[in-house]
Symmetry: C2
Subunit: 163 residues, 2 copies
């Protein structure tokens, strides 16, 4: 895996700012970091071309859209070699927003977001449990999300809007 892209401190600072507020104008970031707007643009193009920046996403409040329940699923497989097949089936369930192949107790760790407890029950019973290769699942319902933030990639404790 060739590593043809050097990331310096300026790149990390730009990313750190945009991870928190992707709408911040390049001109503002430039002022904050004491470089020109063009430099931010060139750096971002490099980071996008290198695949380091994967996309720009809107963060929404699921509960305000009627999605009140999120839950984590620890999934036991009949055989761990079935991982690919099961992951493909999980991807077909729109309520599944994340899935990881993991070490430890479970083979797959998935996150699902549902409207209410009935919806959750339906997804688990009618969709997840029907997937071939899943032995059983353990469900952890999230009662409260206390932390949700991007990874921290700079030395600074905080680097956010306003310059």
């Amino acid at each position: 895996m060739a590593k043809g892209t050097e990331i310096d401190d300026l790149d990390r600072k730009i990313l750190s700012i945009l991870m928190r507020n992707a709408k911040k104008p390049y001109t503002d970031i430039a002022k904050q970091l004491f470089v020109s707007g063009g430099t931010i643009h060139v750096r971002m193009k490099k980071l996008e071309d290198a695949g380091i920046v994967k996309g720009y996403h809107l963060a929404v409040d699921p509960s305000k859209l009627g999605y009140d329940i999120s839950a984590f699923l620890g999934i036991y497989l009949d055989k761990s070699s079935l991982y690919e097949d099961v992951a493909r089936e999980l991807a077909k369930i729109p309520e599944v927003v994340a899935a990881h192949y993991t070490t430890g107790l479970y083979s797959i760790f998935a996150t699902i977001v549902c409207r209410d407890t009935k919806h959750l029950r339906d997804v688990l019973h009618d969709k997840v449990q029907k997937i071939n290769g899943i032995q059983r699942t353990e469900t952890f319902i999230s009662l409260q999300e206390s932390i949700n933030r991007p990874i921290h990639i700079t030395d600074e404790p905080f680097l956010d809007e306003e310059g």
Copy 2:
């Protein structure tokens, strides 16, 4: 909890598009949905004011920034009443990117992102295990992330870039 904001199908479609690509120009979205650019702007302002849109984030590839290990932590507390205190301490650890108070086996479910196995070991041993009130933890290392996507809020199976 007053519910003073009605979300219609147009709002949901706009959100669905921007959740996948927050950089998409309002003018493009307007064309795709057969309304004017001004309408997109007004709707987005409403959605932001209502707190439905919480922010705009850059998605980055952690491994390309040298963060190769992500892991899930199932945390057992001495007493579940300690949740607030423990959550506050977890928030001080920069490597902790998510934490949920959950039903089921664990009291808290956390996600951490680290550079390598040594870094992970240091975070677990020197930071997490030192927190008062944590009885023990179970660690699930993610070997592969197969699904990671926004919640699905429209009837359409897909609604993305290009109009």
